[in-house]
Each structure stands twice: as C-alpha cells, then as structure tokens.
C-alpha cells in the first residue's frame, strides 16, 4: 500500500515537474509546480514529517506560487515573450548536462546511503513525528537561526517594496504636496494610482 502511494506520487511529481520545465506558457508551468509541490508534500507525510507537508502546501503552494501568478498577471507575459525557445544545440546540451548531473548526484546520494545503511528501516518513531519535539528543538537549539531568518524575511519585504516601486513614486516621495504643485492632476489626483497595472508589485 505504502509502495503504491509512493510510486503514484513519485510519478506525479516527475510528470508535473516535466510540465514545469517544458511548457511554453508560464502559467501552466506554475500550475505544474503546484502539482509537484503537493506530490512532494505527500512524500513528506510518508517520511514522517507531516508538519513540513502542511508548511509546504501553505507556504510554497499557497503563498509563493500565488506570488508568481500575481507577477505573471501584472507583467502580462504570455508565450510570445519567448518566440524561440532556445537553439536546439543549447537545449540538448542542457539536457545532457542535467543527465550527467543526475548521474553524479544520484551516485553521491546512493553511496552516502549505503555507507550509512543500517539494515532495514526502523518504523516511524514518536520522537520524529512529534510536532512538540520539533518546536522544542527549533526554539531551543535553533533559536538564533530562527531569529536571523525572521530578520531576513523583514529585509526581503523592504527590498521587494523598494525594488518594485515606480521611479515616479521615488521622485515624489520627497515632496508631499506633489500633485498640488504640478497642478495637472485633473483626472488622476493620486500619482500612484494613474497606472494601476503596475501598482503593488511587492510582497
């Protein structure tokens, strides 16, 4: 039963990841990524990490993918952005490189696994699955990295806001009475609202 579930979702993950890298339309690629992430979340549950599976769905498939879709929608990128999907030479070279890379990584993981192989796998332990134990370790031993990651997210939010700001907004930021002084704001009283398809690009 477990093997059947593994095989089903492993196949699903590989197939949908092929959609991610091969489909011409980025929106379909994003949807393929949602499918891949969900399949991998199921594998996380099989491996005894249900909390990570939930996080995967919430953060990856929820927040990050929605962010991608939002940007795709804002930039209005459809398939004409990439009329030539690469010269065949480059494509086949990349596929060959990926195959060699797969061989290398697979061999490496395989050998590490066999070097550490300790017979048949023990059944899932309470200690591994328990969310309480995970949180205890996270907030005791890994408290400093946790705080640093919080800081990193704050910096990322600020950086995204600054980067995605329109240049006109940056100029007007110093003069609080910009629209009044220019006097041309007949139809657009707010300079930040005159081109709504580029607004709010940040996080």
């Amino acid at each position: 039963m477990e093997t059947a579930i593994f095989l089903l979702f492993a196949f699903l993950a590989v197939a949908s990841s092929l959609v991610v890298v091969a489909h011409k339309n980025p929106v379909y690629s994003t949807m393929g990524l949602v499918l891949t992430l969900s399949a991998v979340a199921v594998l996380f549950v099989l491996l005894g990490a249900p909390f990570l599976a939930v996080l995967q769905i919430l953060i990856y498939a929820g927040a990050i993918v929605v962010l991608f879709l939002f940007v795709l929608m804002l930039l209005n990128i459809t398939r004409e952005e990439m009329p030539q999907s690469g010269q065949p030479v480059q494509r086949w070279t990349a596929i060959l490189g990926a195959a060699i890379f797969f061989g290398l990584v697979g061999t490496l993981l395989w050998r590490v696994y066999h070097a550490a192989n300790r017979g048949p796998l023990a059944p899932l332990s309470e200690q591994l699955v328990s969310l309480k134990a995970l949180a205890g370790e996270l907030f005791a031993e890994y408290l400093l990295p946790f705080e640093i990651v919080g800081l990193l997210l704050l910096v990322a939010v600020i950086a995204a806001t600054v980067l995605a700001r329109r240049p006109e907004d940056a100029e007007n930021a110093g003069t609080a009475v910009g629209p009044v002084l220019t006097g041309t704001a007949t139809t657009e009283p707010d300079p930040s609202g005159q081109n709504p398809d580029f607004g709010g690009g940040g996080r």
């Binding site: 991998v40 996380f44 796998l121």
Partner: protein, 100 residues
C-alpha cells in the same frame, strides 16, 4: 517499507529536471520556477535523510529553506518587475547588458 534510496533517487531526478529547466528556459520567471523545483528536490533529500537517521535536524533545515525560498521569491520577482519596467521584457537572452 520503502527504502530511503528511492526517495534519494527521486530527489536527484527532480533536481536534474530543475537544472535542465533553469538552463533551457528563456523567460526569467520560468527560470525562477525551475529553481524552486531544485530547492524542493533538496528538501526531499533532507527529509529522507532525517527519516533515515531518525533525527529531526533535517526537518529543521527544511524549515529554514522554506523561509529563505520565500524571501528569494519576493526579492527576485520584485527585481523582474523592475527590469520589465525598464526593458519591457524579461527574456534573459535580451538582458545581456553585463555579458562580457
């Protein structure tokens, strides 16, 4: 019971697919999607090793990887918006200002 090596091979396969995508795609956002795929493959390997050693450390690392991936996506997509505003394209072949 499924051997851990199956998970490891699946992880390597997903990572290789992501690599091929990141190398062949022209659209910047598609490259980003491929990178997310590679990150996820690494997460799968970490969780599999965590299962093998019956230790939670791998799961905690995955937790941090998720947070870093979120930050990376936010900043990267903001960069693409800024680039698109300047150049009206995010085709990476045409963003060659700093190429030799």
């Amino acid at each position: 019971m499924i051997p851990i090596s199956w998970y490891l091979l699946l992880s390597a396969l997903l990572f290789a697919i992501g690599t091929a995508g990141a190398l062949t795609r022209r659209n910047g956002i598609s490259i980003f999607l491929s990178i997310e795929l590679m990150l996820n493959a690494a997460n799968l390997a970490l969780v599999a090793y965590s299962r093998m050693w019956d230790a939670r450390t791998g799961q905690l690392v995955v937790f941090f990887v998720l947070a870093v991936a979120a930050a990376e996506a936010a900043v990267g997509l903001a960069l693409f918006i800024a680039i698109y505003r300047q150049r009206r394209t995010i085709d990476v072949n045409r963003l060659n200002l700093m190429r030799w």
